[in-house]
Structures are given as structure tokens and as C-alpha cells.
């Protein structure tokens, strides 16, 4: 037991959780916390808007798999981080937000607020426990100013139990056995890997399973990069802007092993059509996801890495040899090869496919990539192959424009040893571009690969496709000038108007000590294709003509 202030206890509790960096912005209600932050060994990374602090903590958390931490003050400080909290929660990213609050006597009492200073160590411990275990997510800890200031005897627990929270269920082995039977009896099996594979880092388990059974692997968009996209069994993401071959073959499959996915409508098109003639084996850590969107034939609830490991072991026991010379796999290879060779892409030199393939060519495979939200994001899904699993991150659940750049800075904080690139669009980048200040001043250089079509391109595409070209609210013109914008922050700004210039610009970015914004003007009329229109099944995918 030691007597100290609530704020000091907060820093100690954070240090005890291994926190080395905090993203934030101070204000009246969290000044006592900041005063203790000043005295602590934790590094403060100053943002220019609290939303970015939340996205940075989120990006940090996704990459390090430890909760990223952000600080904000009361009122507008707290409301500014809400988008970031919702984004992290929707994508199951571990994150902790600590907000300052007005003194206790000025507020109505609330459940997640420590009301006495001596509650802080336990509240922080519980927060990290909830954020990082089971299906990860966002936790807000709101600390009234007087609770920050009050002194109390502090007891720092090494472990906490929460009676209403049971994050781990051990998978039922008999269910895994049933899943194997179902998979082996299928004529046209397929594996659908979701974001859960990435969160639980079940990469080698997934690869072993796919290779043992010679089953092709598709992913959701969030699961992109759960499986190496240059692997012979990889078909890429399914869904609204999935790969043609992935959607075509998903529709033909008679049995799917779906791992760590919630079957979002963006992935499956329409629920009814998706499950028609399809036996679904669903593995997930969250029992509430079983049967939520799709009817499940076999459910395996538990950490997917552990479940896959058991599955692989059981398969080894059965000593079964699956020949790669089967009709389904032959057909899969034909369909894949056909679409890889024949999918029509934009003819221009700076077409989306070409610029993203150039990025892949120059970027080392261990580089971490984030994206913003919009056309560039879907082009990244289609044309940027993730080679090393777990190096690709995007705001998929909520679809938050402005997420990618601060998340890239958070990722760089977690992994300063690898290059980090934000594949961005001009519309999204505008939303959090002032994070350039953080990147430059805090020495967290990342590359912004700015696919610039001078418009809110995805909305423009929908207006072209579904609203008879009645274009409204999408034209951003050439404003601002992104090269000058970058330079005004002390970052490097490069405009790339040919693939040769683009290659050089990426290399310059990789060598740079400061952030690099590569402005890549493209044809504003280029659409993202293939496209499964909202509310339609995958089989009705629109292909480029």
C-alpha cells in the first residue's frame, strides 16, 4: 500500500500494463493527469484533434495487439473521440480512452467512473482486461478531476476477475470433429477467413489446415491478409468489391469453414442467397456471432487459433492424405487463372490496378499498410496483395474516413522498425490531415499514398451507377494542393504522374526521415469493379465491360 494521488495511480497502473506511449490532447479537466504524465516515463504524443488520438491508439492496438491508449479532456474532448471509440469497437481493436471529467459533485454519478481515487488501479486493470481479451474492443475510463487529485492508499492488483465477463470458452472438441467430417464430405469446400484470424494471429494454423486439406481460401475484407495472397490456394477477398474469382467460387462452394467473421452484408451480399445450398461451419470467439446473420450447421466457439490448432492435430491423427488432384481444385485453378488474366482494368498508365501493383512491387513485404475509406480502399483490396499475414488494416466495420493516416502513425509508434503506408483518398485524407504535424514533430514518418481523384470518389461512383449521373456533393476540385500542404507541415510532398515517378516517390518515402505525401492524380471517372450492388447476392456481381 502506498499513498498517492489518483493521477499518479493512473500512470503507475498504465506503466504496469506496459504502456509506453499515450496519444492525446490536454484540457482543463485532465490537467492533473497530464502533470503526472510529465513526471512519468510514458511518452506523450500530441495530436491536433482528439479523433486522431483515438485512431492512433486503435492503429497501435491492432498492430501490437496490446491496447493503445489515448487521453482527452471533458466535453468536446470526449465527444471528439467517440468516432474513434466506435471505429475500434466495430473492428474489435483493443484500445483504452481515458477522459478527464468535471469534479464528482458537479456530475450525476456514472457506472464506469471511478468515484474514489483508490478505485483507479482496479478500474485500469479491468479496462485492459476487457479491451485485450476475448473479442477485443474499446474501453472508456472517465475520471473526474477531483478523483485525479485526491490522495488515497493504492493497491495495485496483479489480476482481476469480473463476474459478468467470461472472455474464454474452450472449443468443444466433438464439434471440431463434426466440422472435420463435414469438410471432408464436401464436394466443393472453401475456407472463409475473417478478421478474427488476424486478431488471434492464427496465420500458420490456417495455412497448415488449408495445405493439409488443399482447400482454397477466400477472406472477408477485414480478413484480407489473414492468408498470404500470393499463395497457390489464395483467392482473395469476397464481397461487394471482392475479387471476381473469389465471388464466383464462393457461390459455387457447398461447404464453408468460416473463421472469425460476422458475415457482414458487405461480405456475403444477401444473407438468404448466401446460405442457400451451403453448409456453414462457424468458428468464432464470440458466441453471440453464431447464428446472428447466417444459419450455422456446426459452431465452434472459442479462440480461433486454439480451435484451428486442435483441428490440425485431429487431422494429423486421422492421417489422411488429401490429393491435390481433385475436380474442384482443378476448377478453382481454372477460374482463378481466367480472372487473373482477363479482368479488365483501366487502360491509363495511372489506373488504380497499376499504381497499387507498383506500390506492392516497391514496398517490402513486412511493411504495414492501412487504408482510408472509399474507392482507394477497395482498389487496395483488389489490387494490393498482402504477402505477409497481419500487415494490412482498415476501418471496415464502421467505415471511418480519416482513420488510415492517424492509424498509420499509431502503427509506426508500435513498429518503428518497419515502413508504414496509408493508402488514402483525397476525401478521407482531408479529415485528419492535420496529423501531419504529429507525424513530423513526433518523428513518426509514414507514407501517405494519396490516390487523388479530386472527389468523394465512391459516392461519385454510386451517383454515376445508381442515380443517372446526378452528381452532387462529390467534387472537391484540386483543393488543397497536397504537395504544398505536406511541405507546410515540414513533410515531404511529391506529385507522381507516371509509374516511373511513382516508383521513385515510394522509394524516396521509404528513405525519408519525415512523413511523405505522394499525390497521385488519377482519372476521376474510374470505377471500382467488380461490384456487387448493395442488397444483391454475390452471383449478381457486376464486372468491368
Amino acid at each position: 500500500m502506498e499513498i498517492m494521488s489518483g493521477s499518479k495511480a493512473l500512470m503507475k497502473a498504465l506503466e504496469k500494463e506496459g504502456v509506453k506511449e499515450v496519444f492525446g490532447l490536454p484540457g482543463g479537466a485532465n490537467l492533473p493527469m497530464y502533470d503526472e504524465l510529465y513526471k512519468s516515463n510514458i511518452r506523450h504524443i500530441l495530436v491536433r484533434h482528439e479523433q486522431s488520438a483515438a485512431h492512433m491508439a486503435d492503429g497501435f492496438g491492432r498492430v501490437s495487439r496490446k491496447a493503445g491508449v489515448c487521453f482527452a479532456t471533458s466535453g468536446p474532448g470526449a465527444t471528439n473521440i467517440i468516432t474513434g471509440l466506435a471505429t475500434a469497437q466495430a473492428d474489435s481493436a483493443p484500445m483504452i480512452a481515458v477522459t478527464g471529467q468535471v469534479p464528482v459533485k458537479m456530475i450525476g454519478r456514472d457506472a464506469f467512473q471511478p468515484r474514489e481515487a483508490n478505485e483507479i488501479p482496479e478500474v485500469v486493470k479491468k479496462g485492459f482486461y476487457i479491451a485485450e481479451t476475448g473479442r477485443p474492443g474499446a474501453v472508456l475510463i472517465d475520471i473526474p478531476k477531483d478523483v485525479q487529485q485526491n490522495e488515497a492508499e493504492m493497491n495495485f492488483p496483479d489480476e482481476v476477475r469480473i463476474r459478468g465477463y467470461h472472455p474464454w470458452a474452450d472449443a468443444d472438441v466433438s464439434e471440431i470433429d463434426r466440422a472435420i467430417d463435414l469438410l471432408l464430405s464436401a464436394q466443393r469446400p472453401i475456407i472463409l477467413a475473417g478478421g478474427g484470424v488476424i486478431i488471434s494471429t492464427a496465420f500458420s494454423e490456417l495455412q497448415s489446415l488449408a495445405e493439409m486439406l488443399m482447400i482454397p481460401v477466400v477472406t472477408t475484407f477485414k480478413g484480407k491478409g489473414a492468408f498470404p495472397e500470393n499463395h497457390a490456394l489464395s483467392l482473395g477477398p469476397i464481397g461487394m468489391h471482392g475479387h471476381a474469382e473469389a465471388n464466383k467460387l464462393m457461390v459455387e462452394a457447398d461447404c464453408v469453414l468460416a473463421i472469425g467473421t460476422r458475415f457482414s452484408d458487405r461480405s456475403v451480399g444477401t444473407f438468404e442467397e448466401f446460405e442457400k445450398n451451403l453448409k456453414i461451419i462457424h468458428m468464432d470467439v464470440d458466441p453471440a456471432e453464431i447464428g446472428k446473420n447466417q444459419t450455422t450447421h456446426v459452431a465452434v466457439v472459442g479462440d480461433v487459433k486454439a480451435s484451428l490448432r486442435i483441428m490440425v492435430k485431429l487431422l494429423i491423427k486421422r492421417a489422411l492424405k488429401k490429393s491435390d488432384d481433385n475436380v474442384w481444385l482443378k476448377h478453382v485453378n481454372e477460374v482463378r487463372d481466367y480472372w487473373r488474366q482477363n479482368l479488365k482494368i483501366h487502360p491509363g498508365e495511372m489506373g488504380a490496378a497499376k499504381i497499387l501493383r507498383k506500390l506492392r512491387e516497391v514496398l517490402p513485404k513486412e511493411a504495414i499498410v492501412t487504408t482510408e475509406v472509399g474507392q482507394h480502399q477497395m482498389w487496395a483490396s483488389l489490387f494490393f496483395d498482402v504477402i505477409q499475414p497481419g500487415t494490412f488494416f482498415s476501418s471496415t466495420g464502421l467505415g471511418t474516413m480519416g482513420w488510415g493516416f492517424p492509424a498509420a502513425i499509431g502503427a509506426k509508434t508500435a513498429r518503428p522498425d518497419v515502413p508504414v503506408v496509408d493508402i488514402a483518398g483525397d476525401g478521407s485524407f482531408n479529415m485528419t490531415e492535420n496529423s501531419l504535424a504529429t507525424s513530423v514533430l513526433e518523428n513518426l514518418p509514414v507514407i501517405v499514398f494519396l490516390v487523388n481523384n479530386y472527389s468523394l470518389g465512391m459516392v461519385a461512383q454510386w451517383q454515376r451507377t445508381f442515380y443517372d449521373r446526378r452528381m452532387i456533393g462529390v467534387d472537391q476540385k484540386n483543393c488543397p494542393d497536397y504537395v504544398k500542404l505536406a511541405e507546410s507541415y515540414g513533410a515531404q510532398g511529391i506529385r507522381a504522374q507516371s509509374l516511373d515517378e511513382l516508383g521513385k516517390a515510394i522509394k524516396a518515402g521509404l528513405k525519408s526521415d519525415v512523413a511523405t505525401v505522394i499525390d497521385i492524380p488519377i482519372d476521376p471517372e474510374e470505377d471500382v469493379l467488380p461490384f456487387v450492388a448493395p442488397g444483391t447476392p454475390l452471383k449478381d456481381m457486376i464486372l468491368p465491360s
Binding site: I162, R163, G164, P287, G291
Partner: protein
């Protein structure tokens, strides 16, 4: 889609904000709460919420899972109405247009085991503890007199021992 009625018995942490979180979950998932009652249990650290709702089998399973996932819920049970004692208290204020009506309302109340309070010249208040079906039946019977006001508590339910 077969819509059914479900009684959910939810043991929760007895602390501020929990009722909000539970009802907000119903709102977020677009489920309507048919009735709700909340009170502290034999252990003052816990409250029991009894919520009745309508939905198809899949929807009800989903809401049970979502409730279970909440950190503030300790135990979530879906009660089988055939193995459960469930009752609701209702207060009816019924119009009395002529003296004979007062007698008749008293008779009906007696037949249903209801208590009569606040008998005035112009109205009578009746307190009925019963199942929702019995309450509906009673309501139909007194409707012709004119129902001035109704207040219902929501269902309280406990599973029968050994059921």
C-alpha cells in the same frame, strides 16, 4: 417467421447505469420491450430484471446472447412460461356512471381475486395481480364501463422448483 412471447430473467449488477445499458441494447438491436420490472434481489449486490418481449426464435436467441455478452449481466435465463410462475400487478381506474355499475365492478373484481381501492362516486380503482392473459380478460370485461386509466408494473417471474 413465428413470433413468440419470451420471458427473460436477467440477474445484473445493482449499480447505476445498468438498466440504461440493458434497455439500450434492446434499442440498438431494434427489439421492443413488452414489459419490464426491476428490483433488488436477496443479495443486495444484484438486481433482477424481468423483461418480456416478442420475436421469432432466432431473434430471441440473439437477444439472449447479446445480453449474456454484456459485462454487467451475471446470468440470463429464458424462462419457459409453463414451468414458471409469472404475475403482474395492474391498477385500473374505472368509470362509475350509475350506482349499479359499482356493484358489478365489485363482483368482477371478486371473481378475479382483485382488490378494490378508492371507491368514489364517479370512479373505482381496482388492483389485480394476475397473468397477462387474465389481465386482458378482465380488461375486456370492464371496458364497457369505461376505463379511465391503467398502470401496470410489468411481469415478475421465477422458475418453479424442479422444473
Amino acid at each position: 417467421m413465428i413470433v413468440m412471447w419470451a420471458i427473460l430473467s436477467i440477474l445484473v449488477e445493482n449499480k447505476p447505469g445498468v438498466l440504461f445499458k440493458v434497455t439500450n441494447l434492446f434499442r440498438a438491436r431494434n427489439f421492443n420491450i413488452d414489459s419490464i420490472s426491476v428490483g433488488v434481489t436477496e443479495n443486495p449486490e444484484f438486481s433482477r430484471m424481468t423483461i418480456t418481449t416478442y420475436g421469432d426464435e432466432k431473434q430471441i436467441q440473439q437477444i439472449v446472447k447479446q445480453l449474456d455478452k454484456m459485462i454487467d449481466t451475471i446470468e440470463v435465463k429464458r424462462l419457459d412460461e409453463h414451468k414458471t410462475v409469472y404475475r403482474e400487478v395492474v391498477l385500473f381506474k374505472i368509470k362509475v356512471s350509475k350506482a349499479a355499475n359499482s356493484m358489478e365492478i365489485n363482483k368482477l373484481a371478486n371473481a378475479y381475486g382483485a382488490k378494490v381501492h378508492d371507491a368514489k362516486k364517479e370512479s373505482i380503482m381496482v388492483e389485480l395481480t394476475a397473468t397477462p392473459d387474465q389481465i386482458s380478460a378482465f380488461e375486456e370485461l370492464v371496458k364497457p364501463f369505461g376505463i379511465l386509466e391503467i398502470a401496470r408494473t410489468g411481469i415478475a417471474a421465477l422458475q418453479r422448483t424442479g422444473a
